[in-house]
Amino acid sequence: MQIYLPIAEMPVSVLLILGMGAAVGFISGLFGIGGGFLMTPLLIFLGIPPAVAVATQSAQIVASSTTSVLGALRRNALDHKLGAILVAGGLVGSALGVWFFAAARRAGQLDLVIVISYVTLFTVVGSLMLKESIREFWHRRKGGAVRLRRRAGEHAPYLGWPLRMRFYRSKLYVSVIPIIGLSLFIGFAGALLGIGGGFIVVPALLYIFRVPTTVVVGTSQLQIVCTTLVALILHAVTNQAVDMVLAILLIVGGVFGAQFGARMGRHLRAELFRFLLALLLLAVGLRFGLELVLQPEEPFSISVQEVRT
């Protein structure tokens, strides 16, 4: 069954889009990430103009993250205070990211900046997480205690900087400075790459701040909802590239997928959860890396600058 998209100006298969929404929603619910870095390339592959793809998939992220946040609220698996700081810093970071985006576009190398950032971010974050989870598996094999609970005096030095704050829900008593730094960076990268930044928030909260896994997903989703909501409205106003029909199809598929993902995530062991997320990130990083290094089959590409009517 085909349906015509009014803004993308092309027909798509309804079932295909619903299925894609469900698949990406599942991964998003499972890992507490937005899933934009998976959805955008898929939509572009279908022939949807890149601007429409980036803008529209943010609506799906808003929907699936809203579900996750509401679920987390009900289970009390959300740190409001930590979330609020992440959101505030993230919005400032986004503004910086939008400015840098325009500068890179003027220089004519936006594509390159984006691909290299993708490769670096995903490979670095992915391999760090993979190393960590392999070590955990190893410890378990040797019968040693798995170090999940923090002990006194085990903090990295930067967590003890001034302006310490207590986050009861996350069992944290740390300086706000590294948290604000993290949120600024996420907002910046998010605006530049058109992603929510969940895949950076989740590992950072897990490994740097040692926030319990159950709280991480809800808190990261709260941050994603807020930044993506702002991004969605900005895209609609500045680029007029949000396709409502496509958005609704993605949302309907996505919310169901996210539910099943979140449910499965609750039954997943913490180490396995981190191991799978690490593999996913590495795979995406590798895919972008190959695109950069391998000789392209078709070296030429067309981009539409404007439509003359």
Partner: protein, 253 residues
């Protein structure tokens, strides 16, 4: 059909200086896009009128139908090796090229007329893509970019040439079908019909049709453009509503 006959009669009475007159008509001047639009086909009908003084030609007529879609500003980029990575280096701008371009002919275009004539009159896909007003000349450096544009557009079904696209029903009446893929953008489409005999152009007509969004599709486009903030807020509200709905439906307790 009656309108066609009337038109023919009118043209006949005016009896121009030219020996042959070409009369063409489209099956549809306004193609509507609705929610289940998946591309369409437009038929071009044509009749050739010869005035009383002219004797019948020894050779048969040939017809070339050229359709040009709305104009686009395109940039074609070429990836090249720089150290270990492949990045976009060279590029060529195409300031005003048709988003859709199709050429239907009654037989292979090489047999219809000479290379010089094709280049001068922009007859055939090859001649249009390689013409000077398509993009700037750069001592042959523009050639691979022109070829790439044609190849990539052809893969999408947006640039095509069909040497069997025009069929003669009688020696004087012909018909052509213009295939419009679903990805052809809304806008104005120019249809140019050229009549040949013995490699010489005898007559030319120009008409057009419009591809427009209607109903819901049109309204969404208008709202997204004119009330963009409200549209963005509405989309956000829909997204949040569905998110909330799902959390209610799937509530376990």
């Amino acid at each position: 059909m009656r309108a066609l006959v009337l038109l023919a009669a009118l043209v006949w009475s005016l009896a121009s200086a030219q020996a042959e007159t070409l009369i063409t008509s489209l099956s549809n001047h306004r193609v509507l896009i609705n929610s289940n639009y998946t591309g369409t086909q437009i038929a071009v009908f044509g009749a050739i009128e010869r005035d009383a003084q002219t004797v019948a030609r020894a050779t048969a007529y040939d017809v070339v139908v050229t359709v040009r879609g709305p104009r686009q500003f395109l940039t074609v980029r070429e990836k090249e090796r720089l150290g270990p990575v492949w990045i976009n280096l060279e590029q060529q701008k195409f300031p005003s090229v048709p988003a859709y371009l199709s050429v239907m002919t009654s037989r292979p275009i090489e047999e219809i007329t000479s290379v010089q004539q094709r280049q001068r009159q922009r007859i055939g896909l090859e001649a249009i893509v390689n013409s000077t007003d398509f993009t700037s000349q750069r001592d042959g450096a523009d050639r691979p970019f022109r070829e790439a544009l044609q190849r990539l557009k052809a893969q999408e079904g947006l640039y095509l040439e069909d040497e069997r696209g025009v069929t003669f029903l009688t020696p004087d009446i012909f018909r052509a079908a213009i295939p419009l893929p679903a990805t052809a953008p809304p806008g104005n489409y120019e249809v140019d019909v050229t009549l040949f005999a013995d490699t010489v152009i005898l007559a030319r007509t120009n008409t057009n049709f419009e591809l427009v969004k209607t109903g819901f599709e049109e309204q969404v486009g208008v709202v997204a453009r004119d009330w963009s903030l409200a549209y963005g807020l509405a989309t956000a509200a829909i997204a949040i509503f569905f998110g909330w709905l799902a959390s209610v439906i799937f509530r376990r307790d």
